[in-house]
């Protein structure tokens, strides 16, 4: 196997608040290959978004990356001076956020914003900039792109705005795009359009994509591999199809069982009891043990990741491997 494009090891991002140290991300490791789509799944507070922000160095005080390593090709990103990070952001690593209305500047035309994004990394004439902007907008499925360049964000619908945000991320042909719940705010029919387009874009451009979402079905539609996060840690990882068909971690199993499609209509859904833990008061040992039917005394000690081939899980009592 070739060397991974992005190599994350033992990443820890903590927030130093008056309520104590919140370990939002606590020892996350994964690899990302060129052109790969990786799904990052978790509930709110699981640390999935903070992991994404950490990759781009977008952690503001009181948060801080306290340990770990993020290597893009052979360059270590943690500890880079802000100017060097700024140069990488947008050019090598780009981000798409959940809400396109707050991503785009409401008082600038689309052309002006895209010109700024281009100009941050290279000298481009206005004419060449417009041509490139129109080209990328066409790629993300905006009809009549050349004319729409002079429109303002409010003149676009939600789905079109998110397409513009994706186009801005694509402008400088980054190696990695981190997309944080980019379709959560959109309607199902628009979500499907954007998912289909992202899949085609990644295939055509060879960009690697990290897709952060709480929706297992959406992630499974895109990602070849998924990481499941719970309370700041990756509790399960592996190829999407195998993880979803035969989860090893009880949390992944519980999430799948609680989907309405898993029960006959009108029947009681399998539910995970209790609430996700708050980061200020994480249970000792495995953070999932208070909600887990399989927990026993062993779970008072945090489990290490068990690796088996392409899969991995953090559990003392994993669910049974399915019969081959």
């Amino acid at each position: 196997m070739s060397a991974p494009l992005l190599r994350v090891r033992d990443l820890a991002t903590h927030f130093f608040t008056r309520a104590g140290v919140l370990k939002a991300v606590d020892g996350v490791s994964f690899d990302l290959s060129a052109g790969e789509i990786l799904g990052l799944v978790g509930e709110s507070g699981s640390g999935k978004s903070v992991t994404g922000y950490s990759l781009l160095g977008l952690i503001d005080p009181p948060g801080r990356i306290v340990a770990g390593s993020i290597r893009l090709h052979d360059q270590e990103l943690i500890g880079l001076p802000p100017a060097a990070l700024r140069d990488l952001r947008g050019r090598r690593l780009a981000m798409v956020f959940q809400d396109p209305m707050t991503t785009l500047n409401p008082v600038l035309t689309i052309a002006a914003q895209m010109q700024l994004a281009l100009g941050a990394h290279e000298r481009v004439s206005a004419r060449a900039g417009r041509a490139r902007a129109a080209d990328v907008l066409t790629r993300v499925g905006i009809p009549d792109a050349a004319r729409r360049l002079d429109a303002y964000p409010h003149q676009f619908s939600g789905g079109m705005r998110q397409r513009v945000a994706i186009a801005v991320a694509l402008l400088n042909r980054p190696d990695v795009i981190v997309a944080d719940e980019p379709t959560t705010a959109l309607d199902v029919s628009i979500q499907a359009q954007i998912l289909a387009e992202m899949k085609a874009l990644v295939r055509d451009l060879g960009t690697a994509l990290i897709w952060i979402s709480h929706d297992l079905a959406v992630v499974s539609a895109l990602a070849s591999r998924i990481l499941v996060m719970y309370a700041g840690r990756i509790v399960e990882q592996g190829p999407t199809a195998t993880v979803l068909r035969a989860p090893r971690h009880p949390y992944t199993g519980g999430l799948l069982d609680s989907l309405p499609s898993r029960a006959a209509p009108g029947q009681t859904l399998q539910q995970i009891p209790g609430l996700p833990p708050t980061l200020a008061a994480l249970p000792a040992g495995c953070a999932f043990h208070p909600r887990c039917a399989r927990a026993d005394v062993a779970c008072q000690v945090a489990p290490e990741t068990t690796l088996a081939g392409t899969r991995g899980w953090r559990c003392h009592h994993p669910l049974a491997e399915p019969a081959p």
């Binding site: 509930e43 709110s44 619908s157 789905g159 079109m160 309607d187 199902v188 029919s189 628009i190 979500q191 499907a192 359009q193 998912l195 289909a196 709480h214 929706d215 297992l216 079905a217 959406v218 499974s220 539609a221 999407t240 199809a241 979803l244 068909r245 519980g254 999430l255 799948l256 609680s258 989907l259 309405p260 499609s261 029960a263 209509p265 009108g266 009681t268 859904l269 399998q270 539910q271 995970i272 609430l275 996700p276």
Partner: protein
């Protein structure tokens, strides 16, 4: 079939732009002032039998929440009426007021629907005391009973909403609605803002309460899987109109309207039995503006099967199966009722 419990008779809701004097002048002088009304709901008729759960599905802007609010009696229709057992839910003129406590509503965002400065117990007791369902003295015990019913500890009454998680707040909102002893609950995206693992807990609560209290429910959601799970019948809305309505099973397994078919296919579904894990197929185009709905069938611009008549005539609802109706020109009707507008 039982007599209808809730009847919705040709309701429409148009929102006129609130124009200032300046806007009017600018409009006369040719300025870009929006003077068209938003036609949120157009000529919708429905009947619900007692104890039934009707799912209302559609994309944002299709009018499902507006219709839900009119059924709940908190938004007067521009035309048409909603009645429970023949008694209108709203009456009076300018402004029409809600006339019944038999229908209550649960909203999407439990952070916005609870007063942050009111103790949970007070929020739950306020309505029942005003409507004399319970005396002030008996209120604490009454409130505690409802809190237990939704799975919360009775001491929750002493606390404030910010001390609860999203799922617990939604339980409080449910208890507050139930404390009014309604027959009908209108739930507008009640689980949309909750995490997946909490969503299942709240859906289970709805299912249990529905049977225990014999509630009739209108369950509004854009999430097709959730709606299928809780509903007996499902209505699909598109641009202010119901385009298909029928038993949940029939809608999901034999959708008749091209929009319903496309909508169902556009949702990524986890199908773990086959090699293909997830399949989905997007619908082309976007929802047209409700300011200027297209003539004829509102879906014709995005419909692969559209014919010339789809661009001219609004299709009428026709029966396509048992209790199953859809509004599409291309459907062979099992009992086609000829009318002036649809030959």
């Amino acid at each position: 079939m039982n007599a209808p419990f809730i009847t919705v008779t040709s309701v429409s809701k148009h929102f006129d732009p609130q124009l200032s004097l300046g806007d009017h002048i600018a409009g006369v002088l040719g300025g870009a002032v929006e003077t068209r009304a938003v036609r949120a709901v157009q000529d919708v008729s429905l009947e619900l039998v007692r104890g039934e759960v009707l799912g209302l599905v559609g994309e944002s802007g299709c009018g499902k929440s507006t219709l839900g609010r009119m059924i709940a009696g908190i938004l007067p229709p521009t035309a048409g009426a909603v009645a429970i057992e023949g008694a209108p839910v709203m009456a009076g003129r300018r402004p029409a007021r809600k006339r019944t406590t038999r229908v209550q509503m649960i909203f999407q965002d439990p952070y916005a629907s609870l007063d942050p400065r009111m103790r949970v117990g007070d929020a739950l007791a306020e309505g029942p005391i005003v409507h004399r369902l319970v005396s002030r003295a008996a209120a604490p015990a009454y409130v505690a009973g409802w809190l237990r019913k939704v799975g919360l500890a009775a001491d929750a009454a002493q606390r404030y909403p910010h001390q609860f998680s999203g799922g617990q707040r939604q339980r409080i909102a449910i208890a507050r609605a139930l404390a009014m002893q309604p027959d009908v609950l209108v739930c507008d995206e009640p689980v949309a803002s909750l995490d997946v693992s909490i969503q299942a807990q709240v859906l289970n609560l709805f299912l249990a309460l529905r049977h225990e209290l014999a509630l009739t429910m209108v369950f509004i959601s854009h999430h097709l899987g959730v709606v299928r799970h809780v509903s007996d019948r499902v209505a699909i809305m598109y641009l202010g109109r119901i385009v298909e309505i029928g038993p949940a099973d029939a809608i999901y397994t034999h959708p008749q309207h091209p929009y319903t078919q496309a909508l169902l296919q556009s949702v990524p579904q986890l199908t773990l039995t086959e090699d293909v894990v997830t399949s989905f197929k997007p619908i082309d185009g976007e929802l047209p503006s409700p300011l200027a709905p297209p003539p004829g069938c509102a879906f014709h611009q995005r419909c692969a099967l559209a014919e010339p008549r789809c661009r001219q005539q609004v299709p009428l609802m026709r029966d396509v199966g048992r209790q199953h109706a859809a509004a599409c020109h291309l459907l062979p009707a099992s009992t086609d009722v000829p009318s002036a507008s649809a030959r």
